[in-house]
């Protein structure tokens, strides 16, 4: 039953943040179509190591689509050709025998390359640190059922909260905008009564930090939504714009 394919890979190699990058070409034979994309990279790395070469550096961890660590730009798409998945959930059955696959890191001013396919996404943490939370300390909070929350609101908040912080939205956006990421957090917390108290402050601080860190503007192309592995919707961006404007208006 097992089928395998032969493929050619064009992979971005870059020794360090300041080094000049280049594409290297590799050939792989007999790759099982049931293997995941990252397992295919494992096989390639194994081949490189046994030939005395340096393996390709890439970010990955949970390999089940939830940690948000993996971040490859494959054949011109963040997380590759399949829909609603991360790179680690992509399987080789999506590729044809003899195909050439191009792999690049996320490319964006906000995410400088560290090595090969690994980029620095600390900017996302900085944006969350600026206000992506409810300012509540441990202890001294009311019973969990004290405030009823409409199921629809809880569900919508959950939709927004399912963002994994991978950065595919930024990598895909021609302006390098982080609006989808930021708006997902702003929306989640604005929809819940616990987050409403500081919604104005939150929206202002997160947007200001996003701008400060050099992310571009949103021009409503919607590419981010298409490539988001978790299907986070751009309606969140509209909500954030409202939140932001209302906050500014109050000033």
């Amino acid at each position: 039953m097992e089928k395998s394919i032969n493929i050619k890979l064009k992979v971005w190699r870059q020794d360090g943040p300041k080094a000049k990058g280049r594409f290297e070409t590799y050939e792989l034979k007999d790759i099982s179509i049931d293997s995941s994309f990252l397992e295919m990279i494992d096989v390639l790395n194994e081949q490189l190591i046994s030939g005395g070469n340096e393996p390709i550096a890439f970010d990955h961890d949970c390999r089940e689509g939830i940690c948000g660590m993996c971040s490859m730009y494959i054949n011109g798409h963040a997380h590759g050709p399949d829909e609603d998945i991360t790179t680690c959930q992509l399987h080789m059955r999506k590729f044809k025998d003899g195909e050439t696959i191009t792999i690049e890191p996320w490319r964006s001013a906000g995410f400088p390359v560290i090595k090969d396919l690994i980029v620095n996404r600390n900017a996302f943490d900085d944006i969350i640190a600026a206000g992506g939370y409810v300012s509540v300390g441990t202890g001294g909070v009311p019973d969990a059922n004290a405030i009823a929350i409409q199921k629809e609101d809880a569900d919508e908040a959950m939709d927004a909260a399912s963002c994994i912080g991978c950065g595919a939205c930024v990598a895909t956006c021609k302006n390098g905008s982080a609006m989808l990421f930021v708006s997902a957090k702003v929306s989640q917390l604005a929809l819940l009564p616990q987050g409403k108290v500081e919604r104005a402050r939150r929206a202002k601080r997160m947007v200001a930090k996003m701008d400060e860190l050099g992310f571009g503007n949103c021009t409503n192309t919607g590419a981010c939504e298409v490539e988001c592995p978790k299907g986070v919707s751009i309606t969140n961006i509209a909500r954030m714009n409202r939140e932001y404007l209302m906050a500014k208006f109050k000033d």
Partner: protein
């Protein structure tokens, strides 16, 4: 021998934690600012502890090997978190959660710790809701609950199939708020490589910056490890690729006791192994057992036809299906605890009834619940899990039953800690999966999240003050002290040694070899002969590693192979200790199943007269046998019984 004192407070079980809190020593706010606490790991336990300690006024240094605290593997927990809220009014209570946990752990956990866990469980849910965690709700606006294995009540709170993600993001956001307030100094892509002791107390760590390769020294008045479990010793597991045992192993080499390393949880519902190139296994949440029914063909010829690809499971008539969990355990049915469900699957597959191309799989079928509740309801409950399954296996689980098989998932064993979550090294604390404390020989579903957050939000912030109250006059120490220097040199030597081997085998190649030995001989069913064989084989693999591993590159800059090799060196030691502990424990309990010790029905047979103790292993040096210390478990409130889920 180390003297073992669990420091369990006086008083009735229900009063111990209250008594402790009433009488412990505290640190006043102005002194808190002068005390540094190192917290290693940013999963549920680490992030919640770091955030809570910083909120209280301590100066916290937080470390993670990932690029962001939000990536810790707690993020992957799917199903839910337990609490004794009794919102569904179905008979739950703190005592019942305590009892279920003790029983589920096959009577190998400390009563006082488990009771405290059940006691603080409700506060966790309150805390998470206040943070904006979007738990599932009913139409009336109240929180929804579901059931997990080993319980007859619905006490599990959940956020779709991403509960771990949402709880971790809550803790992460609390942590980032403290980073913003400058109460936490955050170090990402930084790995602990040594622990520094000064005058017998833990006072710091040596880390390696995984981007620059630089070794760094950090001082702390206390050091907290929340670095997760050691499941990746088996190579294939549901753990993340980077999950490792190294921080705990460094603690062990520095004199901390390692407790019950052989208690490893094998989760019954994982996607089966599909080939030699496989890098990890994916869990399908236990919550699926609420609505899915587990079965294999009742006739061997049907199973054979399925394996040969000649028959589809949907073509097998109802009367020719063996719903073996419902048959064997009518009271709990598909919701028996994980160890029981895993062994039952193995038993059927070993007997020749397994399905899938390899025969190492059973079905998890949603046909009946889709018929009863409709596809939409099932999709609302488990949609993301079904999608995940389809992407991996390329089959639609709404139409054809899922195939599942047990896999290594969680480690109940870990660093020994007392009631205060302190190891036997003063000032070294351990939280979450990394410690051994609350789950006994088997963890119940949805209890890992509960324990991680209990430790981090509601236990450590109290208990660590009892230790630090003696340290308020201890000034911050210089990292130029010889103790730091000596440990840094030791680390340098180790890395140089690794890089100098220049052999022929890749790190993964050797890790896979270790994994095979662990799974074959130290996995779901163990016996004396197999374990002795494993111990021999592990030593051989260790020698192979230290003489023939190939690590490209050097110490400078980012070097993933060097990171992996450094961790594998510790997994090899850990594997040996797991096998040694399993060989010593001549009984079956929870996740530890010795074939020599089973009941007539094939259930785990405990030997309470001889083995009602925590095995606490003490390091004696390289190539020397460790010493076994015992913490005898006293059961004053529950009666020890043969577990019965019939």
């Amino acid at each position: 021998m180390t003297k073992i004192d669990a420091k369990i407070p006086e008083g009735d079980l229900t009063q111990k934690w209250t008594n402790y809190k009433n009488h412990q020593n505290l640190v006043n706010p102005s002194n808190k600012r002068r005390l540094d606490i190192i917290v290693v790991g940013t999963g549920l336990a680490g992030a919640s502890a770091a955030a809570s300690l910083a909120e209280m006024g301590f100066k916290v240094k937080s470390f993670t090997i990932q690029d962001s605290p939000r990536r810790a593997h707690s993020i992957a927990a799917q199903g839910g978190i337990n609490a004794a809220k009794n919102y569904p009014n179905d008979g739950d209570s703190v005592y019942r959660l305590f009892y279920d946990t003790i029983k589920g752990g096959d009577y190998r956990a400390r009563e006082a710790n488990v009771y405290r866990l059940a006691e603080v469980s409700n506060s966790i849910i309150d805390q998470c809701v206040a943070q904006g965690v979007p738990f599932a709700r009913e139409y009336g606006g109240q929180l929804d609950n579901r059931s997990f294995g080993g319980a007859q009540v619905s006490r599990t709170f959940y956020a779709r199939g991403q509960t771990g993600q949402q709880l971790l993001l809550g803790a992460y956001q609390a942590l980032m708020r403290q980073v913003n307030e400058k109460n936490v100094e955050l170090h990402t892509r930084t790995e602990l490589v040594e622990i520094v002791k000064i005058e017998g107390k833990a006072r710091g760590i040596i880390t390696r910056d995984l981007v620059t390769g630089k070794l760094e020294r950090h001082f702390g008045h206390a050091v907290v490890l929340a670095t997760g479990g050691y499941g990746n010793t088996f190579f294939l597991s549901t753990n993340a690729m980077g999950s490792n045992a190294s921080a705990a192993w460094k603690a062990y080499q520095n004199g901390a006791l390692m407790a019950n390393p052989d208690y490893v949880q094998i989760h019954p519902t994982c996607i089966p192994v599909h080939g030699e190139f496989q890098s990890k296994l994916t869990l399908m949440s236990e919550s699926l057992r609420n609505d899915g029914r587990i079965w294999v063909p009742a006739k061997k010829e049907d199973a054979e036809a399925i394996r040969a690809g000649k028959l589809k499971p949907t073509a097998i008539a109802e009367e020719n299906r063996d719903y073996y969990l419902e048959r064997r355990y009518p009271a709990f049915g598909n919701l028996v605890p994980r160890d029981v469900a895993s062994r039952a699957a193995k038993e059927r597959c070993d007997a020749g009834f397994g399905v899938g191309a390899t025969g190492l799989a059973v079905y998890l079928d949603f046909k009946d619940s889709i018929g009863r509740l409709g596809k939409d309801t099932i999709e609302a409950r488990y949609g993301n899990l079904f999608q995940m399954y389809e992407k991996i296996v390329d089959e639609n689980p709404y139409e054809t039953p899922m195939m599942i098989y047990p896999a290594i998932h969680y480690t109940m064993g870990g660093l020994w800690v007392d009631y205060e979550l302190q190891t036997n090294i003063p000032g070294l604390f351990c939280l979450g999966e990394a410690n051994f404390s609350d789950h006994g020989a088997n963890r119940l579903g949805a209890s890992a999240l509960m324990q991680g957050l209990a430790d981090g939000y509601f236990v450590l912030p109290f208990t660590i003050q009892n230790y630090l109250s003696d340290d308020i006059r201890t000034p911050r120490m210089s990292t130029d002290l010889p103790e730091f220097e000596e440990k840094e040199n030791k680390v340098k030597e180790r890395f140089e040694k690794l890089l100098s081997i220049k052999g022929e085998l890749s790190v993964d190649h050797i890790h896979k070899e270790l994994g095979h030995v662990m799974w074959d001989f130290v996995g779901m069913a163990r016996n004396k002969e197999g374990l002795e064989k494993a111990l021999k084989r592990i030593v051989e693999i260790k020698n192979k590693f230290w003489s023939n591993v190939r690590i490209p590159g050097n110490m400078e800059g980012l070097n993933s192979e060097l990171e992996k090799a450094n961790r594998l060196a510790d997994f090899l030691e850990m594997g040996e200790l797991i096998a040694r502990d399993a060989l010593n424990r001549e009984e079956s309990c929870g996740g530890h199943f010795r074939e020599e010790f089973q009941t007539k029905e094939g259930e785990a047979l405990r030997r309470d007269d001889e083995f009602a103790y925590v095995s606490c292993w003490e390091y004696k040096g390289e190539d020397k046998e460790p010493i076994l210390n015992k913490e005898v478990l006293k059961f004053e409130y529950v009666e020890l019984k043969q577990r019965n889920y019939k």
